[in-house]
């Protein structure tokens, strides 16, 4: 894995990876209406970042997508999930109470706090898997010096 891949791969990756990210956000947000949810959507967002890192090489992509960004994304997702769970105690009786109104079925804004929980889980899974991928690649970068 030297300095990224050929020109064709780089042009296509630059063009396609925002579309992958939009698709991942769509699957997260419509988790309560169609198949999907937080878990596959988070992994799709992570794979958009992985595509950029693999096609542009480790050194160039590391300047844009750092490890601290991925770690922050993961922590923010976990905090959103836990805060929503604790607000159940404040507003009602017990942990994980669904306190937002339910609305009519088959609308985008319905089903209580399930869309917000999906966003939290999506951020957590996406950030976590990209962070562990970066760790596996950077281990070789820092141990062997420049290239291999």
């Amino acid at each position: 894995m030297k300095n990224g891949m050929t020109l064709i791969v780089r042009v296509i990756a630059r063009f396609v990876s925002p579309m992958i990210m939009v698709f991942g956000i769509y699957i997260i947000l419509h988790g309560h209406l169609s198949p999907g949810g937080g878990f596959p959507g988070g992994v799709i967002i992570a794979s958009a970042f992985v595509l950029i890192t693999l096609s542009f090489g480790k050194e160039i992509a590391y300047q844009k997508l750092k490890e601290s960004t991925a770690s922050a994304m993961e922590s923010v997702g976990a905090l959103i999930f836990l805060i929503l769970a604790t607000l159940g105690i404040v507003f009602g009786g017990w942990f994980f109470l669904n306190f937002l109104p339910k609305g009519e079925p088959l609308r985008l804004i319905s089903a209580g706090f399930i869309p917000l929980c999906n966003i939290g889980i999506g951020l957590k899974v996406g950030g976590g898997i990209f962070a562990v991928f970066l760790t596996l690649i950077l281990f070789r970068l820092l141990e062997k010096g420049e290239g291999d």
Partner: protein, 176 residues
Amino acid sequence: MPEIELYLLITLMIVGALVAVHTRYLISAVISLAVVGMALAVAFLYMQAPDIAITQIVVEVLALVILIIAVSIGKEVVDIKGKRETLTIGVTALFVVIFALFAYRALADLPPFGSPLMTVSQHYVEEGLKQTGSANLVTSILLDFRAYDTLGEATILFTAILGAFAVLRKIGRKAK
């Protein structure tokens, strides 16, 4: 035979797994694992589980990337062939055959394929849309009826990733 497609898919998975176990080149084994994973995603789709088919395909691709990183570290691309220890292979094969015989007797006690018991799930199916308001019943189980399990899963993800960070920490030693 009613579920002929499922028989064919599981046979394809068994053939792919046998190739992945016995081939000499490690890259060929990784590609055979990709075949097993894709056939598994089609089998999930056949059994009316689209949520899981999406998750399996996407996770499969990332698992392949991680395995190729692992294979490309070592300088050996070929499987290691030491002395052929006949006694070990014989005893292991005997153990596997005995295990399979016991499992055959035990698996006959399950409810037959295609008619599950559904004692708890009947309540989730009937009350799911009314009590949670979400049209996807699997999401309503994951995030409303059984949200503790999702919290446990988030904890496992966090701990595993923290473990991977802690094992591979070499920054600070080389930069001197």
